[in-house]
């Protein structure tokens, strides 16, 4: 049995009067990949933002490594080891690739030496060799896939124990999606726990061990990803297009 690195219980999030998450519970086991699938507007991004401290949950508990992180600032949560790759990449589009990456380690500069950060940067270039060639390029001028790599790399520069990704496949060609998914698997093998949110349910279910299905702010199904992949109801609602 693996112990959960992240546990969220009964989370509720409101945007004004709109209840975007209704008593949502989920957890990520240590060293595993979970995915959250659901249609546009289901509340997937809100879920990750609540964990990352970007939107405050009105109710519920969120624990990371056994400690409550509910109500902490986004900065405090990054410091604890939770990093979000936001929907739509959200790069610093006017800064270079290498500046985007190094700013990912912003919180580490006071505690770690520059050499250590340079060595993390080297690891990013090993993970995404194309970024080394593009290091000096302005991030906003990269292709969609390269931008996604920078966004993932920037999140990794903070050395997270839990990496959360919000629709990393959005807008990318199938080959690029496959490459990104392989990278996520590789990171996971190297020890990072992963929470993956996707509308591309098939790709997400293939690489995750456990999955949650979100509809209108509620978890309507959860189970082993392999089982969901072959479940006729899920195939009908979420996997039909492929």
């Amino acid at each position: 049995m693996k112990s959960p690195i992240l546990e969220a219980e009964n989370i509720q999030v409101f945007y004004g009067a709109v209840r975007a998450l209704k008593h949502v519970s989920f957890h990520v086991d240590q060293g595993r990949i979970i995915s959250v699938i659901g249609a546009n507007g289901a509340g997937k991004s809100t879920l990750l933002k609540a964990v990352a401290g970007v939107v405050p949950p009105a109710e519920g508990h969120i624990r990371f490594e056994g400690q409550s992180i509910k109500g902490l600032s986004a900065t405090a949560i990054v410091k604890k080891g939770v990093s979000l790759v936001p929907e739509g990449r959200q790069l610093f589009t006017s800064l270079s690739v290498v500046d985007n990456l190094t700013l990912g380690a912003y919180l580490h500069y006071r505690r770690k030496g520059r050499e250590e950060i340079a060595s993390h940067l080297g690891e990013m270039y090993t993970l995404f060799p194309i970024l080394k060639q593009r290091a000096a390029q302005i991030a906003g001028t990269l292709s969609g896939g390269e931008q996604q790599m920078v966004s993932i790399g920037r999140a990794l520069m903070s050395q997270p124990k839990l990496l959360m990704l919000d629709e990393p496949s959005m807008g990318l060609a199938p080959l690029v999606i496959a490459e990104i998914m392989q990278t996520i698997v590789r990171l996971n093998r190297e020890g990072t726990s992963v929470a993956l949110v996707e509308q591309n349910a098939r790709a997400a279910l293939r690489i995750s061990r456990y999955a949650y299905v979100l509809e209108n702010g509620r978890v309507v199904r959860e189970g082993k990803s392999g089982e969901l992949l072959t479940d006729p109801a899920i195939i009908g609602d979420y996997l039909g297009e492929a």
């Binding site: 970007v54 979000l84 936001p86 610093f92 589009t93 006017s94 800064l95 190094t102 700013l103 990912g104």
Partner: protein, 297 residues
């Protein structure tokens, strides 16, 4: 007109224009530093120049502290004033909108002006030139030695500022915050702290402007509003947010003023900035040089 040739007059106007223009450029840069991180126009920007000059006058002239130290103490104190503005005027706002923040800066500029009058009174203050030297004669024009300090220090500041934004972690973090505040928060860059830095930095720039120009023009408590207006005109002319645009536009505005004063009448001097400001806003709101330091949003 009689004994001085047109050529030496032109040289004289050019140097006068560049000197004043350097101060406008520093004020315009101050506007941009804050604008890029907050989209706020800080109308207290001109007061920093006034305070920089007046504090320097007290330290160097009244207290007799060596000019070199007085200069840095004055700049340090004014940048402290900048952070106090942030803490007292900007941060406490509930539900700050750009408009309420801009109104807060107007209120603050009025308070700073009142305070300056209370502390220093209405008389102008003088500061000795940085180095005692005779004027330089260039093509028949007399150029005060302090003019070269003004130009040299301004250019050095622009270079230093560029290096700061391009090569230091804090400079990059400030650009990141201006570029995408949400994403900056996700990597742990506190936008509050970056805004605080930007207030301190733009106050320091203004103070340097005041300190270097006071030996030439003297300084008095009520110059802030006009300086802010001129600097704002330059910032708009250079394209709000565009650093090099602000510098070029500051010098251009200074030159226009100087030539208008020389060839038309000094009574039109202050109107020039307004005419330029209105002209740009009507004809080319994005400024002569387009967009920002960051490129198009």
């Amino acid at each position: 007109m009689d004994s001085i040739s047109l050529g030496s007059q032109v040289v004289q106007y050019i140097f006068t224009g560049l000197t004043v223009g350097a101060i406008y450029a520093l004020v315009a840069l101050g506007f941009n530093i804050i604008y890029n991180v907050t989209e706020v126009i800080n109308f207290a920007q001109g007061e920093f120049v006034v305070w920089g000059g007046l504090i320097l006058a007290v330290l160097a002239e009244s207290l007799g502290i060596p000019l070199f130290f007085s200069f840095f103490i004055s700049v340090g104190l004014v940048s402290l004033v900048g952070t106090v503005i942030y803490w007292t005027g900007i941060r406490p706002l509930r539900q700050p909108t750009i408009l309420t923040m801009i109104m807060a800066t107007i209120a603050i500029s009025i308070i700073l002006k009142g305070l300056a009058m209370f502390i220093w009174g209405k008389d102008p203050y003088a500061v000795q030139p940085f180095v005692e030297a005779p004027p330089v004669t260039l093509w028949g024009a007399y150029i005060q030695a302090q003019t070269f300090w003004v130009l040299g220090i301004s250019v050095a500041l622009v270079v230093a500022l560029t290096l700061f934004y391009q090569h230091t972690l804090t400079g990059k973090a400030m650009r990141a915050c201006a570029d995408n505040p949400g994403a900056a928060g996700l990597v742990g860059i506190s936008s509050g702290r970056m805004i605080l830095f930007s207030f301190a930095l733009s106050a320091a720039l203004g103070a340097v402007g005041g300190a270097i120009i006071t030996p030439i023009t003297l300084m008095e408590y009520d110059r802030g509003a006009m300086l802010a207006l001129k600097g704002f005109g330059a910032a708009i002319l250079g394209g709000l947010g565009n650093f090099y645009g602000a510098v070029a536009a500051g010098f251009l505005l200074g030159l226009l003023e100087s030539f208008a004063t020389g060839f038309i009448s000094s009574s039109y001097k202050d109107a020039i900035a307004l005419i330029v400001l209105l002209g740009v806003l009507f004809a080319r709101p994005q400024g002569l040089m387009g967009s920002s330091l960051q490129g198009d949003e």
